[in-house]
Symmetry: C2
């Protein structure tokens, strides 16, 4: 891990960053496969890096899972700033679509993390609060422009989407269900 503290111009540092990214990319794909049992050895194989390099970057399977999870939360929070749409209501709906993809995907990582951490992990608790905080400005703007119903909060909307994301099926099956719920939000 010490190489990570060297200046970016250092080729060792660039190597280390590439390795870290390769590991995270391989792990992200691996944990997206439902029912697959993913060991550190399997991730090392898929990423094409040795076990020493893997453990230099992530001291434990749990640390790797927490990094993966935190990365996905970052992505959905950053999406709230960048998401586009013709009206505030469209912006919110487009972000909720992305939130659904996030919720579907993070499930496996969250379940692995819960199993690995033997119950709670602080990363899981924070993610709910961070997602809510990121979406709140979009929700407020859509509410102000009277495009969405006013009998439920953003927290309720996100819980609805997370619930739909737990339906065990492919996206062709779940997509119209999500669409139904999102259409129900519109005034």
């Amino acid at each position: 891990m010490t190489t990570l503290n060297q200046p970016p111009s250092n080729p060792k540092r660039a190597d280390a960053e590439r390795n870290r990214e390769r590991i995270l990319t391989a792990a992200r794909a691996a944990f997206a496969e439902p029912y697959a049992e993913i060991s550190m050895a399997e991730i090392s194989r898929r990423a094409g890096v040795g076990m020493a390099t893997l453990y230099r970057n992530f001291a434990s399977r749990r640390e790797l899972l927490e990094s993966l999870y935190a990365d996905e939360v970052d992505v959905i929070c950053n999406a709230a700033v960048r998401v586009e749409g013709e009206t505030p209501g469209e912006v919110l709906i487009n972000w909720l679509q992305q939130f659904f993809a996030f919720a579907s995907h993070k499930r496996h990582v969250a379940l692995e993390l819960l199993a690995d951490a033997g119950g709670a992990s602080p990363v899981l608790g924070e993610s709910r609060a961070r997602g809510l905080a990121a979406g709140q400005p979009l929700f407020d703007a859509a509410r102000q422009s009277c495009e969405i119903r006013n009998d439920l909060t953003l927290e309720q909307i996100l819980d609805m989407i997370v619930a739909i994301a737990t339906i065990n099926s492919d996206s062709r099956y779940t997509e119209p269900i999500l669409q139904t719920a999102l259409d129900g939000l519109r005034l």
Copy 2:
């Protein structure tokens, strides 16, 4: 159990039926309490019947759970025949509201049953098919009268409702979420 085969005019038979109903009513209320650990002794206490009577009616905790579950499935299937509404779409929506209550309630029993039966129970598998068959005529009529969207099946609708029923909160919190999803169904 032999008393149950005697003619209804027999006072012993009436007693036995009363006991069975008392047990089922007490068990239904007991298993509706989330996180409560409900033993056969607890049900005997709550129903005000002795353990001998309890076990004469239900040979095991699993048999009692299966009876409870099958009863609830009967109720929601019978409701599909009796439910009212001004239009076919209203009839379907009203039944789906009842299905939500069923799905919220049956969850605890289903989880207990899964734990008790060590995985699968044939009663659980049948319930999905029975619910679908009961709702299909209502769904077809609502579709024919062009009151609901046509990009998802009744199976997808029921999965959506079951998913919303898994949200861990009181009905004041989940009711607007259900309403949103049902509004999304309407054309």
